[in-house]
Symmetry: C2
Subunit: 320 residues, 2 copies
C-alpha cells in the first residue's frame, strides 16, 4: 500500500488549471489500492482523486473503464466518474503516466462486514448488473478461467513453497473447473473484484463502488460468486458465515436476481472465484520480497474457501 509516483504540487496545480474545478488547496498521496498512485486533492471547488495508472493497468483499457463508470453514474449508481477537462478529455498524462482526475466519494470500507452490510453490497451489485444490461462495449476477462491456467503455469511448482503439493491441488481444481464451467450462463460486464475494500459505506448505505480496473465481460453470476467469496468468511477464510451469505444473496435478489441455472451452478462459480484469488495472491506472494513495504495477502485464505466451496451445496451458499 503505497504511492509509487511522486507528483510535485506545482505539477498538480498546473494540471488542475486545465479543468473547471477551482485551484489547489491540498494534495496528499493516499494508499488506495496497490495498483496505482493516488492523490486526494482538495481545490476551492471540491475534492477529487488524482489517479496515475502504473504498470498493471493498460492505458488502452482506460476508455472502456471510463465508459463503464459514465454509464453506471448516468443510471444513478454511486461510482466515481472521471472529470472532463475544458477540452472534454478525461485522460491526461502526468509524470509520464496516463492519469485521470476522478470524483471523490464519501464513505469508508467496512473491515468486519455485518449482515446488513452484506445485504447492502449485494443490492448495490444487483443494481450494477441491472444498469449494465444494456451496456454494449466489451473487454475480455484476463482474470477468467483461461487466465487462471496461464497464471498457474507461470507460478509452476514454486507455488509449493507456500504449501506442499499446492501445485497438484491447483492442477486438479483447474481440470475440474474446465470440465464443469457453466460457460452457457448469462454474460455481462462485471466488476470482478467487489471486495469490502471497494465498497464505500455510510450509515449502512453504499455511497461508493470503486476500483473497476478488473471490469470485463464474463459470466454475470461469477461476479456474485466473487463477492460471496470476498464478504462471507471470517478469520482469514477459515469460517463461512452462512447468515451473511444469505443476506448478500437476498440483497442481490432485491437488486437483480439469480436464475435457476445460476443457483445450481453457484458452488462451481464460487470454486472459480476462490481459485482466482488463490492464484493471484500466490503469484504476488512469490514475487513480492518479504521485506517490501506492501502487505502480502495470505493466499491460503482462499485455499480454505476453495476447500469449503468444493463440498458446499447451493442452499448452504445461497441461504434458500
Amino acid at each position: 500500500v503505497a504511492v509509487y509516483t511522486l507528483v510535485a504540487a506545482e505539477d498538480i496545480a498546473a494540471l488542475l488549471s486545465r479543468y473547471d474545478v477551482g485551484t489547489l488547496v491540498s494534495a496528499k498521496g493516499i494508499a488506495e489500492g496497490v495498483e496505482n498512485s493516488n492523490y486526494l486533492i482538495e481545490t476551492t471547488g471540491g475534492r477529487f482523486i488524482l489517479t496515475l495508472y502504473e504498470k498493471r493497468v493498460d492505458a488502452a483499457d482506460l476508455p472502456f473503464f471510463i465508459a463503464v463508470l459514465d454509464h453506471l453514474a448516468m443510471k444513478g449508481n454511486p461510482v466515481p466518474r472521471a472529470i472532463r477537462d475544458r477540452n472534454g478529455f478525461q485522460v491526461q498524462t502526468v509524470a509520464g503516466r496516463p492519469a485521470c482526475l476522478i470524483e471523490f466519494l464519501p464513505g469508508v470500507s467496512v473491515t468486519r462486514p455485518g449482515r446488513s452490510d452484506a445485504h447492502a453490497a449485494g443490492a448495490a451489485l444487483g443494481r450494477l448488473h441491472w444498469s449494465l444490461a444494456d451496456f454494449r462495449a466489451r473487454r475480455d476477462n484476463s482474470m477468467g478461467l483461461p487466465g487462471w491456467r496461464h497464471l498457474a503455469e507461470q507460478c509452476g511448482t514454486a507455488i509449493d513453497k507456500i504449501r506442499p503439493r499446492l501445485a497438484e491441488r491447483i492442477a486438479a481444481e483447474l481440470a475440474f473447473l474446465e470440465q464443469h464451467w457453466p460457460a452457457e450462463l448469462a454474460h455481462s460486464i462485471i466488476h470482478a473484484d467487489l471486495f469490502p475494500d471497494n465498497v464505500l459505506m455510510l450509515d449502512g448505505q453504499v455511497t461508493g463502488i470503486i476500483d473497476f480496473y478488473f471490469a470485463a465481460y464474463d459470466i454475470r453470476a461469477w461476479d456474485v460468486a466473487v463477492t460471496h467469496a470476498a464478504w462471507c468468511f471470517d478469520d482469514d477464510g477459515a469460517h463461512y458465515n452462512a447468515a451473511r451469505g444469505a443476506a448478500l444473496i437476498a440483497g442481490y435478489e432485491a437488486g437483480f436476481g439469480l436464475s435457476h441455472a445460476e443457483r445450481t451452478a453457484f458452488p462451481v462459480l464460487c470454486r472459480g472465484a476462490a481459485l482466482r484469488f488463490l492464484l493471484t495472491r500466490a503469484w504476488d506472494w512469490l514475487n513480492t520480497p518479504a521485506d517490501a513495504m506492501v502487505t502480502r495477502k495470505n493466499p491460503l485464505a482462499f485455499l480454505s474457501r476453495l476447500d469449503f466451496y468444493a463440498t458446499a451445496s447451493p442452499k448452504t451458499l445461497l441461504g434458500a
Copy 2:
C-alpha cells in the same frame, strides 16, 4: 512513503466517538512522512489527521511535542494542534500505538521553491523562534553534534559503499566541527527539520508548519542553517542558489534575526546541517533494501552541500 499500520474504519469511528468532532465520513491512509502512519479523516465536523506513532517517535516525547505545538498555535503560528477528547486527553492508543487526532491544515509543499517561497519560509521560521523564546520545556537534540559522531560510528566503514573514502571524510569533518562548534550561541527549542516538505503554502503564504518530531533544544541559528541547506540548492544539491539563500535570510531577519556572532558562525553551522543529513541519509541508505517501496534519498546530495559550505563565506550564504 507508506502507511505502516492499517486501522479499520470501525476502529476510527469508535475513536472519533471520544471527541466532539462529528462522525466519520471518509478515511484515507496518506503517505505523509516516512516515520508514522497517517490517515486523512473527514467527519461531519471537519477534517483531521490521525497519526499513529511508529518506532521512530518515542511516546515519552509526545507530551513535549504537543506542548510545543499548543504554545506555537496560541501565539498564532500555523501549526497543527492535537485535538483534546472529551476527557481532555490528546494522546490515545490505536492499534497498540500511541496516536493523536490532529488539526488538518490546508496548503501544499512546494517542490521547486522560488525566492518568495524561501522568504516566506524564513519569515515563518523567525516567527516560530520568536514565539518559542519564552517556552521553557526542554528536549535534548539526539540529532545534534554528539549524535552525529554516534551515527558515524554506527555506519562505520560500510559508508564507503556509498562513496570510496567517505568514512574518512566524515571523520575529518566531525573533528573540525567538534573543534569549531559555536556552542556558546543562543539556544532555543528548534524545529530542526524545516525542509520544504514540512511547510504548507497557499498563494505564497505559509499555511502550515508540520512534522515537529525532531524539535529539540539546541543552537537556534542551527535551525536557520538546516533550513538554508534544505531550501537553497538545486539539482540534488549540486548548485547553490544565492538569491534564494538571501531571500530566506531576509525573511528570517523580518521574523526574528541573526546576531553578529551567529552570522560569523553561519558557515560552520551549515556544515553541521549538511553533515547531519548526510549521516542520517547514509544510515537509511545502508539500512533500506534497494527494492523496498520507500524512496531512498540520496545521501551524496548533502556531501555536495558540505563541500560547498566548507569554503563559503558568511556573505555568500547570508546575502549581505
